[in-house]
Structures are given as C-alpha cells and as structure tokens.
Amino acid sequence: MNLSNQQTTEDVAAGIRKRVFLHTMRNNGGYLSQACSAAESLAFLYNEALTLGEPTLPKVPLPFAGVPSATNPDAFTGAGYHGPFAPEFDRLIISPAHYALVIYSALIQVGRMDEHALDHFNVDGCSVEMIGAEHSPGMEVTTGSLAQGLSMAAGIAWARKRKGEPGKVWVYMSDGEFQEGQTWECLAAMAYHGIDNIRVIVDVNRQQCDGAMPSVLDLGDLAARVASFGVTCRSIDGHDLNAMRAAADSAEPDKPLIILANTSPYQGMEFLKKRFPRLHYVRFKSADERREMQTAIAAELGVDEAEIARA
C-alpha cells in the first residue's frame, strides 16, 4: 500500500493541519477549522483503516473534463485517487464537500497526490474545486448539498453486499448533516435492510456556518438518537486514535456502524479559540489580525513562518 506505513497516523494528522494552515495563510482564508477537527479521522482512514489500491489518476490533478453526460466520455470522478474499483477494495464517500481542502491535503500527505497539487485549488478550469464535486480529488459523488452522501453510500453498500464483495464502504460526514431529515431516513433504511458493510465517521465538531450548533439548532443527545434507530453507534474522542481504532473494530452483524468522533474545532490551533464561534470559514479583517494568527498558529504547529512566504 502506498506510503501508508512510512508515517505514523499522528504524523499524517499533523501534516494535514500544517498543509491546510499554509494554504489558508497563503490564500488569505480557508476552511481551517475543519482541518483541526478532521485531521485524526482522515489520517486514520487514509493511513490505517482503508484498504485501497494504487491511484488510477495522475498525481498532478487533471483539469475539469466537462460534466457527466451520455455524450461526454471524458468525464471522470476523483475516486481515482482512492485506487481502482475492485471487490476487495474499500470505498470512501466524502459527504461534507466543503472539507475539500482538508481532503486534498490528506491525499497529498499520504502520497496519493502531488506535493504541489494545491496550486490547482480553486483555480478556474481545474478539478480541485473549493467545494468539491465528484470530479474533485478524493470525491466520488457530488455532495455539496449536504446529507445525500450517506444515502448514496448506503445504496453502494447494499449493492456490494448483494454481490458478495468483501470491500467496505466508508463514509466521512459532518454533524450538521443530522439536521437534515434525509440522514434519519437513511439510518432507518440502513437498519431495516441490515446494511452492515458500511462504516461512518461523523465529525461532531458542533460547529456550522452560522456558528456553534447550540445557537443554531442543537442536536441534543446525538448518540442516543442515532442508536435508537437500531444501528451500532460509538461515541468517542475524535482526536484519540486508539479510541477510533477500537470503535472501527466494533461493528456488529446486520448493523451499520456509526462512529461519532467528538472533536474540537480548534484542536492543534488553540489560537482559533479567539474567533469562536465564527470558525466555518476563516478570513482576515486586517493585516494585523493576519500577522497575529500566522505567528501564533505557526508556533503551535511548529511551522517556520518563512515557509508561508514560499508559496
């Protein structure tokens, strides 16, 4: 498997945070907080949990090849960075498409994408879009309208189970998606149909676009609500890799596995706490603010500030 055993999962997580931080500073803003909450989960998936083949797409991302249609044979999906589709390989469906920068950084960190792939980020005509779609690296479906990824993954999982394929279907999603009714429709359907080859990791960072979740629409006891649908639900510290390993290993027959990874939206970048609860997309109001954040977070992550200038 590709480079996975050359780094510890902790190193991969640190690398994800660093790459997203560098990109955010170099581009005057970005989805920085999502790297804080997601780094361990994505590092765990790409470095340990997923059984994937070698990438089938070139390391340097391709330009956008047109929308899918019956007359466009060139359209492709970003699943190629997860390797070929084969019965024995896992699939990873990314549901919160605005985590794209974090996903791309993870793909680079584990060597599935080129070191400079983020040069293509949010550049007109590129596939490395700001809100990922199915042509974006790591994406297989189009999930920018939240809460559809889980249902599509459930369909894939049902089909793979029917065909007797050993590979699992993993889903990475966000807690905000539990405000959408479709998520609960899907939990009910997965439980009813006994879809047990699906593994879902939820980033429970309790943050959303408007701010902290309790100030928008609180989900209450999410673990109890999820469990009450008859699925296996594990609620863990989303930055504790041992807890994640144990949870990922705890699937039960005939039940989907939902892991609620309770995370901090400023894990590893405590300076961001000053901005709470405005964390959805980090931008700077002044040069001073930018400088202060750069110095503080660079120190936290052990980044040489000179590296930021080397864009």
Binding site: V67, P68, S69, A70, E134, E140, V141, T142, T143, G144, S145, Q148, S151, M152, A153, A154, G155, I156, A157, W158, A159, R160, K163, G181, Q182, E185, C186, A188, A189, Y192, H193
Partner: protein
C-alpha cells in the same frame, strides 16, 4: 370500440424485470398503487422497500446505479420530483445515473387533488440536463415503455398509466418518434398521454365537417422529434396542443419553441391547465372543467379557423370510445 386492458403495467414489469437480474424494483410505500405488489411477492430478491422516504430513496438509487444495478423507482409522479428535487439533481441527474423514475397518476388522473396531481412535472423535468422524459398514452405504450426506458444511458422519467387502460396503438413504443394518427391539411393537433384518447373522440365529427386534421401523438417529450413536428406543422392554418399538464413548460411550450425557432408563423393554441392548480375530483370531471377534453379541442380548432364548427357535446359523447370505461369509478388512491 377500443380494447380495455386491466393493469397492463403489472404484467409488463414482471415479465421485463424478472428476466433481468440487474433490474431492481424500488418502492416508497405505494407498492400496490403502482401495480408492483405481485412482483414484490413473487420476486422479493429484486424488490427493495424504502418506505415513505423519497429523499433517501432517490440518493440510495443513485448509489445502486453506481454499482451496475438499474433501479426502477415506483411511486406517484408528484413524489418523484417535488420533495426530492435536490436529490434528483445531485444524486441522479448530474451524474447521469441510469435510474428510472416510474411516475404513476400523472396530471389530473387522480382525485387526490393538489398534493397528488403532478401538473408541472414535465416542465420541471425538461429543465434538468441529462433527463429523458417519456409518457405513455395507451396500454401498448405502458407494456413496451420499459425496454425503451432501460435502453437510455442516463436518468429517465416515465409518466405511467395504471388500472384500466385503453389500447389505442398496435405498434410498440418507439423512442423519440412522433406517432401519426391522422393526416390532413388544415390543422395540426399534437397530444400526449391520456389527452390522445380524448382527441380521438373529436376525430370523426371534425372529419364529417370536411376538416383535414393532422394528429400527432407524443410519447417522447425529451428529447423531441423536432423534424417530425416541423414537417407536420408546415403549411397548416393552425396548431393545437392538448396535454394533461400545465400549459407552461410542457408539450405546448416545447411546440411553441420549435415553431418560433423555425419561423413557421403558424398560430398556436395551447390546451391544458391554464396556469392553475386543479383540485380533487374524477378524471372526466376535471378534463371537462379545465378544458382538457374533446370539446375544448373542437372549440380551439374553431377559434383558429374563425368558424363555428357546430359540434355539440352530445355528438362527442356519442362517439366516445370508452364505453367500457363508463363502469369504472374514479381511480382510488
């Protein structure tokens, strides 16, 4: 007298799907209402019950299609596009998935009122890239639409007729080809779905008055047999469209677009729901009330030609081709 076929879809779907293991029958709590209860009971391995949860059903179907299954979704037309429109776009249409949306009780063929009457479905579906739209006009088309739908590389929406359905046509559903039901030099009449049977009721009285009616039946709404329409419309004194749908965005609109783009300069009357919702009542009552019937067609033709055709409702009644229908109650839910 036309032949009336009872539940043509039930038999056709079972024959079609049971021979093709990659076909899955999905249902959202309207299984017997969509005539697939027998299929469910006899072929449980190909049946997936997803409950009253259409948003999940559409996205789930997208996932099934990604793995090579060809899901046929069964529910009422309204429930395939109103509540789950976002899922239709992002989980199915954008990715050009081979998902087949089998929509029952199109337009005012249900007494269920606003909540059950898909009166703007064609308009909505026409606006979606990658989408193919088919509409059945008789039992033969219900029986033969499945293979056509299954041959399309991309999502397909089908307006299906259920229950007692007249057999008007002796040849199978042909993709993207207008059916010519009569030829004439004066007026072009273009109809689809249940309105075709209705228009046929006016054929004899109009002929008796020496009018040359060119009647086309449309079963593929998107794409559209543009050349066939242009050939038939050229040189006519007028064109009338009649559809079980609002006049905005459906058959009437697409015919208007083509006539304008070709610069044919021929007058057009669009019959259908005149930018209004309907309400719950029987199909014949609603067709009369909202001007979707033979009488409305005759009036429109008279207006186009600027003459009183002197065809009364009694004359149209006399030639009604649905005497077997008359024993039929308003379709239950």
């Amino acid at each position: 007298m036309v032949d009336i076929v009872n539940r043509p879809y039930a038999k056709a779907f079972e024959t079609f799907a049971s021979a093709r293991p990659q076909i899955l029958c999905l249902s959202a709590d309207l299984t017997s209402s969509c005539e697939v209860d027998g299929f469910r009971d006899r072929h449980p391995d190909q049946f997936l019950s997803l409950g009253m949860a259409e948003q999940n059903m559409l996205s789930f179907a997208g996932g099934l299609a990604m793995q090579g299954f060809r899901p046929f979704l069964h529910t009422f037309s309204v429930f395939l596009y109103r509540r789950p429109y976002d899922q239709l776009i992002n989980s199915i249409a954008y990715s050009n998935r081979k998902v087949r949306l089998m929509g029952f009780l199109p337009g005012i063929t249900t007494p269920g009122g606003i909540t059950h009457q898909a009166i703007e479905d064609i308009s909505v579906m026409r606006a979606i890239p990658n989408m193919t739209i088919l509409e059945c006009g008789d039992a033969t088309e219900v029986e033969t639409v499945l293979e056509v739908a299954d041959s399309i590389d991309g999502p397909v929406y089908v307006r299906v007729l259920r229950g007692e359905v007249p057999r008007l046509f002796s040849t199978p559903f042909e993709f993207n080809k207008l059916r010519t039901l009569s030829e004439g030099d004066d007026v072009l009449v273009v109809t689809a779905g249940v309105c075709t049977e209705e228009a046929l009721r006016a054929a004899q009285p109009l002929k008796a008055r020496g009018l040359g009616i060119h009647h086309l039946h449309v079963s593929t709404l998107k794409p559209f047999d543009r050349d066939g329409l242009i050939r038939a419309a050229r040189g006519k004194k007028g064109v009338v469209t009649l559809e079980n749908h609002t006049i905005n965005g459906g058959l009437g609109s697409l015919v208007a677009e083509i006539l304008a783009e070709e610069g044919l300069g021929v007058k057009l009357r669009r019959l259908g729901l005149q930018d209004t919702f309907a309400h719950g009542a029987s199909k014949p009552y609603l067709m009369k009330k909202y001007g979707l019937d033979a009488s409305a067609l005759v009036s429109a033709i008279g207006q186009l030609l600027g003459k009183d055709l002197d065809i009364c409702d009694a004359e149209l009644e006399a030639v009604r081709i649905d005497t077997v229908h008359s024993a039929q109650k308003a379709e239950a839910l």
